[in-house]
């Protein structure tokens, strides 16, 4: 498996978050739900990293039936604005999808709806600018 070639990809929005040792408001972020999260590694937060996580993030409230993918599972995340792709392993629970139901960002006619994945700064900056914030993405397993 790899970028943009799985049978059932998920489409949505991606953002970035900090974890592990960090500075500023991120200083107390900690190692995430998996205990291994680190801003310098290509990792991600997934809304269904565990059943308990699923109860918090509630992507089903926005109509997303996301598969359970636990700590260490590798996703391939494609920035749909420029086609760049990065692989990232699950290291935390998030984002809180249900708090942003219906939110959408587009590149031309290509849109991503609902927050489905957060990447660490190193993973996000490999495919987009950190100042971009939210971008439409494709997620393959």
């Amino acid at each position: 498996m790899g970028c943009s070639n799985s049978a059932s990809p998920a489409y949505g929005e991606m953002s970035w978050f900090c974890c592990g040792a960090a500075w500023g408001p991120c200083g107390s972020a900690g190692g995430g739900a998996c205990g291994t999260c680190n801003s310098g590694s290509h990792q991600c937060a997934w809304p269904h990293a565990s059943d308990a996580c699923y109860n918090i993030t509630q992507p089903y409230a926005c109509g997303h039936n996301l598969a359970l993918r636990g700590c260490g599972h590798v996703f391939y995340v494609t920035n749909r604005c420029n086609g760049s792709c990065v692989s990232a392993s699950v290291a935390d629970c998030g984002p809180n999808t249900h708090q942003f139901c219906g939110e959408s960002h587009c590149c031309g006619s290509t849109c991503g709806t609902d927050r489905l994945i957060d990447l660490t700064p190193s993973a996000f900056s490999a495919i987009a600018s950190l100042s971009s914030g939210l971008l439409p993405c494709r997620i393959d397993s």
Binding site: A33, D51, Y54, I56, C81, N82, G83, C107, G108, S131
Partner: protein, 270 residues
């Protein structure tokens, strides 16, 4: 003093029952237990179970307080349990504030709520009510002797608990603040701001031009300036050239964004 004292077991029973209901029935609340200070005490793995057990204890204390209305059951049994529970709760908040300051209270709602002075004030209020109930020992049915006074005391105390509960801000504080913003001018309205660069970049990212060359950009915005109706935005490409975008400044029209890639012997000065 008899009637207000008789109301305290009811107040405590209501608050404890509400808290227990959340802990015992809300899957979301139990899942969030890993983010509460309880996780710092018992560990993240055991936190959901411990959270449920706390809910069970709260339910038992609430029942014991209500059982004080039965003539053969002394009200002081429930009141003593309430004093113990309230004291433990104050201790829990103190521990959390010292050793897990960023954790959630995990108190009376599935909503996350930081542990700040209001949480402490609420805990102290409940402890005081417990002590009054224990010292007076008045069974709660005595409150019906003066029903208006009893209801008044109960309503005031429940209102105080609500005011001191950060978890309930969404129910009353935020609507009040929204109302204030509606009846008065929005504090952020009418500010004659320039067009933020973020707006230009967002339009740029939506353009067909950006999709064509975006994968080759290696930097964030290097330089930008306005040129008539256009805002010019520059990036560095993977071949050390400069990608120059012209973005409409006065209208929203991503399709009209233009781009040129220029081999640039002298990038913008740092």
């Amino acid at each position: 003093m008899t009637v207000p004292a008789a109301v305290q077991p009811l107040l405590l029973a209501l608050v404890l029952a509400a808290s227990a209901r959340v802990k015992l029935t809300s899957r979301t609340a139990r899942s969030r237990a890993t983010g509460t200070a309880l996780a710092a005490i018992v560990g993240k793995r055991r936190a959901p179970l411990a959270y449920g057990m706390v809910g069970g204890v709260e339910a038992v204390v609430a029942l014991a307080l209500l059982a004080g209305g039965v003539p053969v059951v002394p009200q002081r049994i429930g009141a003593a349990l309430a004093v113990a529970a309230s004291t433990a709760f104050v201790g829990y908040l103190g521990y959390a504030r010292l050793f897990a300051p960023d954790s959630s209270c995990g108190c009376v709602s599935a909503r996350q709520a930081p542990i700040r002075w209001r949480s402490f004030a609420r805990a102290v209020l409940l402890l005081a009510a417990s002590v009054v109930a224990l010292v007076a020992g008045t069974p709660w049915p005595a409150a019906v002797a003066r029903p208006y006074l009893a209801v008044g005391v109960l309503v005031v105390e429940l209102a105080a608990v609500a005011l001191l509960s950060p978890e309930l801000d969404e129910r009353w504080l935020f609507p009040v603040r929204r109302l204030v913003l509606r009846v008065r001018p929005h504090p952020l309205a009418g500010l004659a701001y320039d067009l933020p660069l973020a707006s230009t970049v967002r339009q740029l990212e939506r353009s067909p031009a950006y999709r064509e060359v975006g994968g080759r950009l290696r930097s964030d915005v290097l330089d930008h300036w306005d040129e008539g109706e256009w805002r010019i935005v520059c990036y560095r490409t993977d071949s050390a050239a400069t990608a120059v975008f012209a973005v409409p400044r006065l209208r929203y029209d991503p399709d009209s964004v233009r781009v040129a890639v220029v081999t640039d012997p002298e990038p913008v000065p740092a």
